[in-house]
């Protein structure tokens, strides 16, 4: 993979101007990486679509399924009757199902975020961390 061309800017205005110039030259958004010490919310830079919300729902469903198996299947196996309640008590189990639904959504959201944000991977640009920490905006282009 070729080394990226790196430019460092003091202001958001300068960075946006540089982005416009790159786009005018036909550089695709996927070839551009903009790094900063705070979110810039650049409307000029298209990002891949996120599926975090969808995965959170899937995580919730997985959590609910696990909770149902845990409560219903194991309670049937143990067969303990308490308080005159049926072995499978949906009112009571519903609370555990709710909690594990939320837990599933939370864990999958975290996992999907790490994956989509490309964390725990080789950094796209090396050697610019200090500049970013000092408030500079780094624009890297791979042609």
């Amino acid at each position: 993979m070729p080394e990226p061309q790196i430019s460092v800017f003091d202001t958001r205005y300068e960075a946006v101007e540089a982005l416009h110039e790159l786009q005018r030259q036909g550089v695709s958004d996927s070839a551009i990486t903009v790094m900063s010490s705070e979110p810039l919310h650049l409307e000029t830079l298209a990002l891949p679509k996120t599926r975090i919300s969808g995965f959170a729902i899937i995580g919730g469903l997985l959590g609910a399924a696990f909770a149902i198996v845990l409560t219903v299947w194991t309670s049937r196996r143990v067969g303990l009757v308490t308080g005159g309640m049926p072995i499978v008590s949906w009112w009571a189990f519903g609370i555990i199902i709710f909690e594990l639904t939320a837990l599933g959504a939370i864990l999958v959201t975290l996992g999907r975020m790490i994956m989509e944000a490309r964390l725990l991977r080789r950094p796209p640009v090396i050697g610019q961390d200090e500049a970013i920490a000092n408030g500079k905006i780094v624009v890297a282009v791979r042609r």
């Binding site: 202001t11 790094m35 309670s75 555990i96 909690e99 939320a102 939370i106 959201t109």
Partner: protein, 453 residues
């Protein structure tokens, strides 16, 4: 300052100062809270060696200060994640310096609250028997028990709150990585998961935090509701109430906001963060505290009116003991601490200052601890069968453990402020108005370097 916006250098220097030079106030706080924890540890060791008999509990009072502390600290935990999530979801801009102070409270308060059911087991080394896993003992949790619901709710909330605290911390961990050396650099580097601040990372982080905020709000509400059901699922006098869930949740948010105001006031003073934690934050939280004071009074009045109007003998015995009996000083003290003083104090704008909200918060925290005690002990001392009535007085062990929870909380919180920025640096910068050229930051002299341990 330039264009009305503090420089990047100044923000970093101010908000990283507590990590580098915490000041004498921090050391005093750590030593004092550490001593309180040490006394509590001695009491706990004594209890483990002698058994639960060293507590004042006896038939018919088997829950007392331990469960009071459990309910109180789980309530305090609602300060953070819930309030932070609500403020994020509603887009309240003033939240920015507040959220991390709040989220850290949740994690530490939950850790402390969750200790008490384990301590109360008598043989805490066997607490893992509560965990549903295949074993040769033939034991399996009863999923129809509210205590099993507690296990799932508290652990979900604790794990969710840790992740909710951690996610927005990642960019600040990367900042710390870039400004530290040696071992600390490696530790912060590992914790920041290779964060580089690409726009893709920012976008995904903000999306994940939003999703988490939406998910965590119902979890937070469920946690204290389930804690209330530990009581309400029984048919004990003044416990078997349908409104116990919302009553507990309202009380939890109420005490949580008070704890948050106190924490912010102390942090502001000790770390000289006056420019960041401003009077407007205390004013806004004071208004929230006022709202919760009114809601708390409404629920309390509704709860007691229903008991009084029903005139059922078992209920009335407990009711009378609180209103005019042995527990009356505590009950009226609670009303004074939670409503009679804070509500007028916070309603008058002139008094809704940092000092005013602090006074109200101290009273609310004390009052809410009394309230938790009053929910638990009077009902247990006076069961429906009058031949079974009893008394309860705490021993030094219980009092030391109670004091220890406060010391432990302060100690954990102090250590957290020494290791991580207590105000989210990137969130604070993001909320500042842009300069005339849209500059997000103005680069000044090189930032302070965080010293290696």
């Amino acid at each position: 300052m330039s264009n009305g916006r503090p420089t990047n250098h100044k923000i970093n220097a101010d908000l990283l100062r507590p990590l580098n030079k915490p000041g004498p106030g921090w050391y005093v706080t750590v030593v004092v809270s550490g001593l309180v924890v040490a006394v509590a540890a001695v009491a706990l060791g004594y209890q483990f060696s002698r058994g639960l008999g060293v507590w004042g509990i006896n038939r018919p009072v088997f829950w007392a200060l331990d469960i009071t502390n459990f309910v109180f600290w789980i309530g305090i935990s609602h300060a953070g994640t819930l309030i932070s999530a609500i403020l994020r979801v509603t887009g309240a801009e003033w939240r920015r310096p507040v959220t991390r102070c709040a989220e850290a409270i949740t994690v530490f308060a939950l850790m402390i609250g969750a200790l008490f059911p384990i301590i109360h087991l008598g043989r805490p080394q066997f607490f893992y028997w509560l965990v549903p896993y295949p074993n040769e003992r033939g034991l399996w949790p009863n999923f129809r028990s509210p205590l099993a619901w507690d296990f799932f709710a508290i652990n979900t909330y604790l794990l969710g709150s840790i992740i909710y605290l951690y996610l927005p911390l990642i960019p600040d961990l990367a900042l710390l990585r870039d400004k530290s050396r040696g071992l600390l650099r490696r530790i912060y580097g590992t914790l920041s998961l290779g964060w580089r601040g690409t726009q893709l990372q920012w976008d995904r982080l903000e999306r994940a935090v939003r999703v988490m905020a939406v998910v965590i709000i119902p979890v937070a509400v469920s946690v204290h509701t389930i804690v209330s059901w530990d009581f309400a699922m029984t048919i004990r006098p003044m416990w078997h109430s349908t409104m116990f869930g919302p009553y507990f949740v309202a009380g939890a948010i109420f005490s949580g906001i008070a704890a948050l105001i106190l924490a912010m006031a102390v942090i502001r003073r000790v770390f000289h963060l006056e420019e960041y934690l401003r009077p407007i934050h205390f004013n806004n939280l004071g208004l929230l505290l006022l709202t919760m004071s009114l809601i708390w009074f409404y629920f309390t009045f509704g709860e007691y009116l229903t008991s009084w109007y029903g005139n059922e003998p078992g209920e009335m015995a407990v009711f009378n003991s609180k209103i005019s009996g042995v527990y009356a000083p505590l009950f009226w003290g609670t009303v004074v601490c939670c409503f009679a003083i804070p509500a007028p104090l916070l309603a008058i704008k002139r008094f809704r200052t940092i000092k005013g909200t602090m006074i109200a918060s101290v009273l609310v925290v004390i009052g809410m601890w009394f309230e938790r005690f009053l929910i638990i002990v009077p009902t247990l001392t006076q069961p429906k069968m009058t031949f079974n009535w009893g008394n309860y007085a705490p021993t030094w062990v219980e009092l030391a453990l109670t004091a220890g929870t406060f010391g432990y909380f302060v100690l954990l919180y102090s250590i957290f402020t020494r290791l991580f920025p207590i105000i989210a640096i990137w969130e604070y910068k993001e909320g500042l108005p842009l300069g005339e050229h849209g500059e997000p930051t103005i680069v000044g002299t090189p930032d302070v370097e965080y010293e290696s341990a």
